[in-house]
Structures are given as structure tokens and as C-alpha cells.
């Protein structure tokens, strides 16, 4: 069956990690994987730029890491489970890190979750939202 990499593009505010993105995000995600040891976390946090320069990442990927711009990391081939190693190194929880990709701060985001989460109504389709 022919793979359909376009089918995901109408989902609003969502980046689907495809086999194509494993090529684009390879070095960024491998950098994140390296943070699974305490030694590497210490070394990275002590001198982030030097550590990042050890990886064949694009400058845009490196800058997104330095800025902790998780949405930009997604746009450049990152996958959130890899990025989790980065925000874990910063001592952030999933909620703390994930909320930065939304238009809410962490308190607002947590309040939304406790109230039952983001309602899907209006969030099914970019076309429906007038975004496409």
C-alpha cells in the first residue's frame, strides 16, 4: 500500500513523526538519546554549545535546543520521546515541557487538564478552523 505522508497535514497543531522524519531528525534525536546517562547530562548542561557541536545537527536544530524551543525541534525532525531526554535533563516534567508548545502557561495548561483536558471540538481539522 502506498504510504500517505500527506494525510496528517490537516490535523491542527500536530506533527506526526514519520519514517521520512527519522532521516531529517536523525542527529537531533541521537543527541537527545545521548542524554540517557548522568555523565552526559552533566557534561551537556556544563557547556551546551560545545556538547551540541559534537553532533552533526543543523544550526537551526542546535539553536532550537539552546532556546528549548520544542515546537521548532519538532519542525526540524525531532520526536517528543527523544526530546523528553532533553527536558528530563532540565528536571522538567512532561506537563511542564509540553505546555510550552501550547498558547497556555503551565498553570493554565494544568487547569485545563484537571478540568478534563483539551476538548476536541474545533481541533479536528485545519480546514475546519480556517487554518488551511
Amino acid at each position: 500500500m502506498k504510504p500517505n505522508f500527506e494525510q496528517f497535514k490537516d490535523i491542527p497543531g500536530t506533527t506526526i513523526f514519520t519514517i521520512e522524519k527519522t532521516r531529517q531528525g536523525y542527529h537531533l534525536n541521537e543527541f537527545c538519546m545521548s542524554l540517557r546517562t548522568a555523565e552526559n547530562r552533566v557534561r551537556f548542561l556544563a557547556d551546551q554549545r560545545t556538547y551540541l557541536d559534537e553532533w552533526a545537527m543543523t544550526e537551526e536544530q542546535k539553536q532550537a535546543v539552546l532556546d528549548r524551543d520544542f515546537q521548532k525541534m519538532l519542525d526540524n525532525g525531532g520526536n517528543v520521546y527523544f526530546l523528553a531526554k532533553l527536558f528530563a535533563s532540565d528536571g522538567l516534567s512532561y506537563v511542564q515541557a509540553v505546555s510550552t508548545m501550547t498558547d497556555m502557561n503551565v498553570e493554565e495548561y494544568t487547569a485545563m487538564m484537571v478540568a478534563g483536558g483539551r476538548n476536541i471540538e474545533g481541533w479536528r481539522s485545519k480546514k475546519e478552523r480556517g487554518e488551511a
Binding site: 513523526f17 519514517i19 534525536n29 541521537e30 537527545c32 540517557r36 523528553a84 531526554k85 508548545m101 476536541i120
Partner: protein, 282 residues
């Protein structure tokens, strides 16, 4: 002969592991969620399996970018706990079941499932959080485990049909194992959640409830649900629910629903949990 005596479905939220490990289960935020597993912990004491085949996914904790198996089975003596960036969870090492696992992996390959065989594997929250929920915090896990890692992170994930068919093949293979063993199959992950992008925090409780109903009563319909539908309706990470289909396939055509629990939220996730047993003589 070995037989499959029950299927367990449960979400495997990392923050749930952290709450247990940090002793926060009595806090207001967490108490209602953990209360929902009290029945299950008691039920497990009375129904402890010799081996649990735990269908889960690795979250970039052991497998990275280099090698991405669709279905991988751990046949080792034991499985260490991954460091997911916070240090490894302080839980016991997971004991394997090499004899059943080699039989099972071999059977599945002979049935034309293209398994990847793992003599080494470290397991992450996808596998250990369900164990903590069902067993609490023992010094040593009371059951042996066969980890079955499914790619749900990278599109294309295995189809719903393939996952249900894998479960059926697991059932056949377990029944052909000569030793008399009580085996459970656990399907983990889900329910609705999205942990990335502007749409993060999506929860769809009607979808989750319908999924549970269909899983119990008409899994053959569920197998044709397109992955795109999970991603739209249950969030980008909701597609983990295909792992519940593997568990369901292993239980036969008809099941009894022993227990059901739902709770929102745990961290970013809708928590769902089922205990199912194969219907007698069905």
C-alpha cells in the same frame, strides 16, 4: 499446556511512575487515579500469572534512531530498567521467561510474523508503569515477563488487523507450549493523549469509552479503524491503543469484563484500564 487466563489493558503514563516512586500517590491530584487500581492489585494477588506477555512500546529509551523494529520480543533472563533522563526508576529488575519466549518468538516467525529477537533489552515506563500499577511496590516482581515491543512512535505503525492477528497467533503459540503455565497478556499505552504541538492536552473521553466497548464486544470492527482516526480523535499519541488490540486478539472471540476504570487526567493523559478474561467454552 500453557494457557492465557486473562488480558489486562492499562495506560502507562510516565508521571504515574514518578508519583509512585516519589510517594505522592496519596496527594489530591493522584489519589482518585490510584484508587481505581486498588481492585486490580487485589485481583492480581488472587490471579497472579506465571508469565505476563507485556505488549508495550519503547519511548526512545532503548531503541533510538539506528534501528526501529515493528515487533520485537525479549527472550533474555532479565531486563534492566532504562534511564529515561531522570535516572532509572527505582523498581526491581524485570525477570524474563526465556523458555516460553524462545518458543513464542519461534512460533510467531513460523506463522509469518517477522519478529525481531532481542537477547538484550532495557525496558522503560511503557512496561514498568503497568507493573507498578498492578503489583504496587514489591521488592521483587511476582511474575516473569516477556516484553513485546511494538513500534507505535513512527508512521507507519503496524495495522490494526496485524496487531489483532498477532494476538491470535500468540494465543495459539501459548497453547502449544508443553509446560503448564498461567499466562496473561497485557496491552499498554493510550488512551487519548497528545503531548506535542499546539493541540497538546487533547482528551476525548467519548472516544476512549467507545474504544473500550468495542474492544470488549467487537474487536473485529476495531481492527479496521485507520490510524489517522486515532491520531485525529485520540491525539497523536493515542495511536498507542493499537497495542490493546494485540492483547484482545490473544483472548479469543468472547470475553468477560472483570473490571473497568477511567480517569482524567494523569499528567497529559486519559487513563483507561480493563481486566478481561476469556469466556469459558467460547
Amino acid at each position: 499446556m500453557a494457557r492465557i487466563t486473562a488480558g489486562i489493558a492499562t495506560s502507562h503514563v510516565p508521571a504515574v511512575g514518578a508519583a509512585i516512586d516519589m510517594g505522592r500517590t496519596e496527594e489530591d491530584y493522584w489519589k482518585p487515579m490510584f484508587a481505581g487500581y486498588e481492585f486490580s492489585k487485589t485481583w492480581m494477588k488472587d490471579n497472579n500469572p506465571d508469565v505476563a506477555i507485556i505488549v508495550y512500546n519503547d519511548h526512545a529509551s532503548y531503541f533510538g534512531m539506528d534501528i526501529i523494529p515493528t515487533f520485537a520480543m525479549g527472550i533474555a533472563e532479565s531486563f534492566a530498567i532504562c534511564d529515561e533522563g531522570y535516572g532509572p526508576r527505582p523498581v526491581p529488575v524485570v525477570q524474563g521467561a526465556p523458555e516460553l519466549a524462545t518458543h513464542l518468538a519461534a512460533s510467531l516467525i513460523l506463522d509469518d510474523f517477522d519478529m525481531t529477537v532481542l537477547n538484550v533489552l532495557e525496558v522503560d515506563h511503557g512496561l514498568t508503569v503497568p507493573m507498578s500499577l498492578m503489583f504496587g511496590t514489591p521488592d521483587k516482581w511476582p511474575t516473569k515477563v516477556i516484553p513485546l515491543a511494538v513500534n507505535v512512535v513512527m508512521y507507519p505503525q503496524p495495522s490494526g488487523e496485524r496487531c489483532l492477528a498477532l494476538g491470535k497467533a500468540i494465543r495459539d503459540a501459548v497453547e502449544q507450549f508443553d509446560e503448564d503455565l498461567n499466562v496473561q497478556v497485557w496491552g499498554t499505552g493510550g488512551m487519548s493523549h497528545q503531548i506535542q504541538g499546539a493541540r497538546a492536552g487533547l482528551i476525548n473521553l467519548p472516544f476512549d469509552r467507545k474504544f473500550m466497548d468495542d474492544l470488549v464486544n467487537q474487536p473485529e470492527v476495531l481492527q479496521y479503524k485507520p490510524h489517522l482516526e486515532y491520531m485525529i480523535e485520540a491525539g497523536s499519541e493515542g495511536v498507542e491503543l493499537i497495542m490493546w488490540l494485540v492483547m484482545r486478539g490473544a483472548l479469543g472471540d468472547h470475553v468477560d469484563e472483570v473490571y473497568r476504570f477511567n480517569h482524567v487526567p494523569a499528567s497529559n493523559t486519559s487513563v483507561g484500564h480493563l481486566i478481561l478474561t476469556p469466556k469459558e467454552n467460547a
